[in-house]
Structure formats: C-alpha cells, structure tokens
C-alpha cells in the first residue's frame, strides 16, 4: 500500500527558494565562461574540495535515493555495497589513467582514442559514448519522476488535471538546462557544491530523524533490524537480483571502471582542477570520506523503513519503491524540513543531469562537430553551438523517458543499460592505457564486437551461461557484466596479437609510464621541481603575448621559477581567487618592453580579461611546474 503524503505550503516555498537559488548561482557563473575551455573545463581553476563535492553530487543521482533506499529496505545495510567498492581502482586511476588524461591535454575518451590510434576509433567511441550518456540523462529524469510522482502530482493535478510525470520531468530538465547553458562547467561545479552539501546534509539528517522517531516510540533502530539486514555484504549468490558476487562484477568491476575511466563528466571535472595534485586529492577525498557518507544518505531511509515495519510503525505492505518518500514524510515533522528533503532529491538529479548535459555537449562539439563536420570556425562559434547542444541533450534525455517507463523496475532498467554498454567501451580504454601492444584494429573490433556479443546475450541469455558462477535466477544483468568484460578482453587481446600497429598509432604520453615524461610533454620543456613560495604582486599592463607574464628577478627567485615555467595566477581574495584565475607561463622580458617595477608583474590586457582581474589590482602567483 502507499502512505498518504502531505506537503505544507512552507515545504513548497522551500523547494521554490531552492530552485531560485540554484538558477541564480548557476547563471551568475555565465560571466566566467568566455571560451569552450571555460565551458567544458571551467578554465582549470578549481581546488580539491570543490571538485570532490561536485564528484559526489554527480555520483548521487535521483535514481540513487530510490534504488538504494529500496535495496536498503529489502536487503538492509548491504545496499551500501555499490558505494564501497570504488577503492578497487584507486591505483590504476591515480598512477595510470589520470596522468594520461591530465598531461596529454585530451578532453575526452574519443579524443584520446584518436591520439592513441586514429580518427575511425574516435568516431566509433563517440557514438557509443553518446549513447551511454544520453541514456543516463533519461534514467535520471525518469527516476526523479518516479520519486516525486506520489508527492507532487496530486497537488499539481488539482490545479492542472492534465499534468503528468513527463511534464514534471520537462520542468526539472528545463531548470537544469538554464544554468548549464549559461555557465557550462563552472556553473556545474558551483551548483554541484551547493547540491552536494545539501544532499549529504539532508541524507544524514533524515537518518538522524529516523532513529529519533524510533526512540520516541520506544523502539531501537539496530534492535529492529533482522540479522541479515545488519550485514554490509549480502549473500554470495542469491537472490538473483541482489547478491554480492553479482554486485562485485557489475558494480565493483564494470561500473566503477566505467565511472572513473570513461565517464565524460568526471573526466572534465578532474581536468577542471587547477593542478594534478588537486585532482588526485579530490579523488582520494571522494573515495575515503564522501562516498561512505553518500551511501548512508541514499540508503538510510530504507534501513529506517525496515526497522519501522519490524516495530509495527509502518504497514508490512508498504511500497518499497516509495520507501524514501514514505519514511521522510513519516519521521520529519519540522515545518519546511520535508521541503528541504524534496530539494535534496531534486538536487541529486540536477547535479547528475547537469554534468551529463555538459559532457554530451563536450563530446558532440569536440569529437563530432568540430572534428568531422564544421572545422576551423572561431571559438565563439563552437561555444554558441555547445550551448545549443546542451539544450538538445536535455530534450533528447526527456524524450527517452517513456522508454524507461516500460521496464519492470528502475534497478533492472539501470542494470540492463549499463551492463550492455559499459564493457565494450571501458575495456578498450583499459587496454589502450595499460598495454602498448593494443592496436587500433583491436580497439574498433572490441567496441563493435563487444556491443554485438552483449546484444546477443540479451536476445539469447544462454550464451553467457558459462559465467553464471552459481548466481540464482534473475541475476542475468550481473553475470552479463562479467560476460561482457571477459569477451571484450578476449577480443581485444586476440585481435591485438593478430594485427600490427598502424603508422598513425602513438603511445608517447598516452600509455602509462614515468610521470616526469608526461609532465615534460605537457610543458614542452624540462620540469622545474625546485620548491618555491607564493607571492602577491601588483598588476602592470604590458604588450605581452596572451598567457605570458614577466616578473622581476627577485620575485622569480621567491617563486623558484624560470622562463617557460607554468605559473598559477589568481585574485588574492579567498572567494574571488577561485574564479578569477588563470594558468600562465613565465617569460623572459621581450625586447622593447619596459621591465616591471619592483613588486609588480607584467600582464597583457587579454590575460586580465581571461582571468577577470582588474588592471589596478594585484594577484597571487605560485609555480606549478
């Protein structure tokens, strides 16, 4: 049965205030987006904590609250399994994949494939990747509709009888698009910070409210959880649709690899970090602190719901699919607080969808439009097109929502989708990055052959029976992940051994190896590792090439920097320093230019414009490499 949901005018007001705040914060970032580099990589100006919070906000989609609260209700603490296995890929990402994408200067996986192999690889990867990302936008929009349907629809239909779930989805997608179009990646990161803090806070608060509610009724949380609901890792092979072996292969191996190695939104997010060190720190904070907190946020309503059912505080036939909203509405009685929970649920969707919309625009513009369709136009033209494509991506995401409505449950729909698409793309990435012998022909064969074989396994599941591993009936999506991963590795390795490298193939800086070599390729000269300090200098205009600065000899000594070194230049303020900044190169004084005064740095007018700094102000400088 469904519980009657009540929503007060104050709750509605809180949701409206939240929407207004997000739109204002997001669109305010439009002023910092003047190029495609700003639009896709936020000008590479953000520190570790901003990146980390935005990563978590992206990870937690609206489907997370529904999917994991339902799993928490049905199976207990083990609903957290999907969030606590990303550590498996820590070393491969931090020492292998990340240095490649950061220092090679690529903006996407398809671009990496072209640099590593050829244009054909890029075209195939772009197609598969776009399919993956647009599908993900659709899933997120659909699940938000499912989550909010029982709460908002009766209220909205009382005013507009024609209002349905799809209209709700269009409304949310529209709000998200407004700020993504305005500010691109900068808006995404800033709004994701707000949304990440909100959803973590609300998720943990809901858990606290739930325990308090049980105590108020003389019931304990832990005491009312049946034994199997207390274990964090569930049974090995059963039930078919939720078992630890299947989740290990599907979530731990295939999906986590896809998330950290292939997810275009996450790649752009880490490329937005001002230094490689910040990006790695963000990755560590996300895995070590924020993901474990996030799993409590998304699952705890289900755990509380189970304890309430066992304690007789909820009916036994409560609908697990709506357990998050049911628990929130039952345990929270503070006026306006339920509105904050609705805002957190919406924040989870928007922070995932905005990342994907921006990522779809990045792949569409860089890997298809600019590469194969309309070449050699101005950056302003591509920036305009990126904004139009962002709108288009939201529209396509909305239009595929009805397809997901046909699936039995969200969990199955999500699993079927990711299991089918993920291995054929993530395996070639792993082989390309970690195996020099991997060839272009093998990369294409793996992607095309992998999609075909996984497609066959959906049509004829018996072809993957050999990798069932004793998983009970109903677990096809789990061992399809293993099937896809194994067949893609076999196709990739065998084809590589049977083919030769093409002349166009390149491994320098594109296959894992000493990081110093990657840095030197990135910088174009030997790296300078002398430790230096930070220095605040007054700005002094000069006719210099853009992205170059000149400092007095004593300042260069403090910075421990030489001509050609990469310097980070930012506004001295703590808040403005994040947004008003740029990467520059230290240059020797050109002929005909007056040397900088003591305590000054020479900058060009273009650089001031790019970094949004005032000519009569000052800036903090420090050496990156």
């Amino acid at each position: 049965m469904n519980i009657a949901i009540t929503i007060s005018p104050l709750d509605t007001g809180v949701v409206l205030v939240y929407f207004t705040l997000i739109i204002l914060a997001g669109t305010a970032m439009g002023g910092f987006t003047r190029s495609t580099k700003d639009f896709f990589m936020a000008g590479q100006r953000f520190g570790a904590w901003l990146i980390a919070f935005s990563c978590v906000a992206t990870t937690v989609g609206s489907y997370s609250f529904i999917k994991y609260a339902t799993a928490g209700f049905n199976y207990g603490m083990s609903s957290s399994m999907s969030y606590v296995n990303d550590w498996i890929w820590y070393g491969f990402w931090a020492f292998g994949w990340f240095p490649i994408i950061y220092y090679s200067g690529v903006m996407s996986v398809p671009e990496y494939f072209e640099r590593r192999f050829n244009a054909r690889c890029r075209a195939v990867a772009s197609g598969v990747l776009l399919l993956y990302m647009v599908g993900y936008i659709g899933i997120n929009l659909y699940t938000l509709g499912v989550a909010l349907e029982p709460i908002l629809l009766p209220h909205l239909q009382a005013i507009w009888p024609w209002f349905s779930t799809i209209h709700l989805v269009i409304l949310i997608a529209g709000v998200t698009s407004i700020y993504v179009v305005a500010g691109g990646q900068t808006s995404v990161i800033v709004t994701d910070l707000i949304q990440g803090v909100l959803l973590l806070f609300m998720g943990l608060a809901l858990f606290g409210f739930g325990i308090r509610f049980l105590h108020m009724h003389d019931q304990g949380f832990w005491a009312n959880l049946p034994p199997m609901w207390r274990v964090p890792i569930y049974k090995l092979q059963e039930p078919g649709n939720f078992n630890s072996l299947g989740i290990f292969w599907q979530d731990g191996i295939a999906n986590s690899a896809a998330f950290w190695f292939m997810h275009q939104g996450l790649i752009l997010r880490f490329l937005s970090a001002r230094t490689a060190k910040d990006a790695r720190k963000a990755f560590t904070v996300t895995l070590f602190i924020l993901m474990p907190l996030a799993t409590i946020c998304v699952s705890s309503a289900g755990w509380i719901g189970r304890a309430m059912v066992e304690a007789g505080l909820l009916p036994t036939d409560v609908d697990p699919k709506h357990i998050f909203i049911t628990v929130a509405n039952t345990v929270v009685h503070t006026p306006g607080f339920f509105g904050l929970i609705l805002a957190a649920l919406t924040a989870a969707l928007m922070s995932t969808a905005d990342t994907l919309i921006n990522a779809v625009a990045a792949v569409s513009i860089n890997d298809i439009y600019r590469r194969f369709w309309v070449k050699n136009k101005s950056d302003k033209h591509y920036l305009l097109m990126a904004r139009w494509i962002s709108i288009g991506a939201a529209i396509v995401g909305v239009s595929i929502v009805p397809i997901y409505m046909k699936f039995k449950s969200i969990y199955v729909a999500h699993g079927a989708f990711t299991a089918a698409i993920t291995p054929p793309l993530v395996v070639p990435i792993l082989l390309a990055a970690f195996w020099r012998r991997f060839t272009a022909k093998a990369a294409i064969t793996t992607m095309v052959g992998g999609v075909a074989l996984v497609g066959i396994s959906i049509w004829k599941p018996q072809v993957m029976e050999w990798c069932r591993m004793g998983i009970a009936e109903g677990g096809e999506n789990y061992f399809r992940a293993l099937f896809g991963t194994v067949v893609c590795f076999v196709i990739g390795i065998v084809t590589s051994l049977l083919t030769q490298h093409d002349a166009s193939e390149n491994t320098a800086g594109l296959v894992w190896g000493p990081e110093r070599e990657f840095k030197e390729l990135y910088k174009g000269s030997p790296i300078n590792e002398r430790p230096g300090g930070k220095l605040e200098l007054k700005l002094q205009l000069a006719d210099l090439p853009n992205e170059q600065v000149v400092v007095p000899a004593d300042a260069a000594e403090v910075l421990a920097a030489e001509a050609g070194d990469i310097i980070f230049l930012s506004h001295p303020g703590r808040f403005h320093g994040v947004l008003r900044s740029a990467h520059v190169r230290l240059a020797a004084l050109p002929e005909g230019i007056t040397p900088p005064d003591s305590g000054h740095v020479l900058v060009s007018a273009d650089l001031l414009e790019q970094a949004r700094l005032k000519a009569d102000g000052s800036a903090v400088l420090w050496k990156i490499m």
């Binding site: 070393g91 491969f92 990402w93 020492f95 207390r230 964090p232 090995l236 630890s244 190896g513 000493p514």
Partner: protein, 70 residues
C-alpha cells in the same frame, strides 16, 4: 551454507579478489615506472590508497563479523 556464511563468502570475494586487483593497481604502475617511490606525491597517494582499502576492510569487517552478533 547458512545465509550468514554466504554473506561472509561475499565479504571475502570483495576484499580478497578486489584486494588483489587493488594491489595490482600499485604494483604494476611501480613496475612500469608510473609509480615513482622517490616522488613525495606518489608516496602520499600510495599511503592514502592503502588507508582507503584498510578503512573499508575494518569498518565493513567490524559490521560483518562482529556487529551482527549483538
């Protein structure tokens, strides 16, 4: 095999098989030179990587093997 024993097997798969893959993520980069022990940033990342693994192992292990009995 009881339900609880089956759950313990799942725990061993995650931290055993997952642990082997995770360890390979440090040993193989060290072999190809991608993890350079003389680089301070790499050393710190390695310590954090081990800390992430151990923290998950200990917290989930506590819940799996101990808390279920209380």
């Amino acid at each position: 095999m009881t339900d609880l024993q089956s759950a313990h097997m799942g725990f061993l798969v995650l931290f055993g098989l997952g642990g082997i893959i995770s360890a390979a993520g440090f040993l193989l980069p060290a072999y190809v030179g991608a993890l350079n022990w003389s680089n301070r940033e790499h050393r710190i990342m390695t310590y954090w990587g081990i800390a992430v693994y151990l923290s998950h192992l200990l917290v989930l292990g506590y819940m799996q093997f101990v808390a279920v009995n209380f």
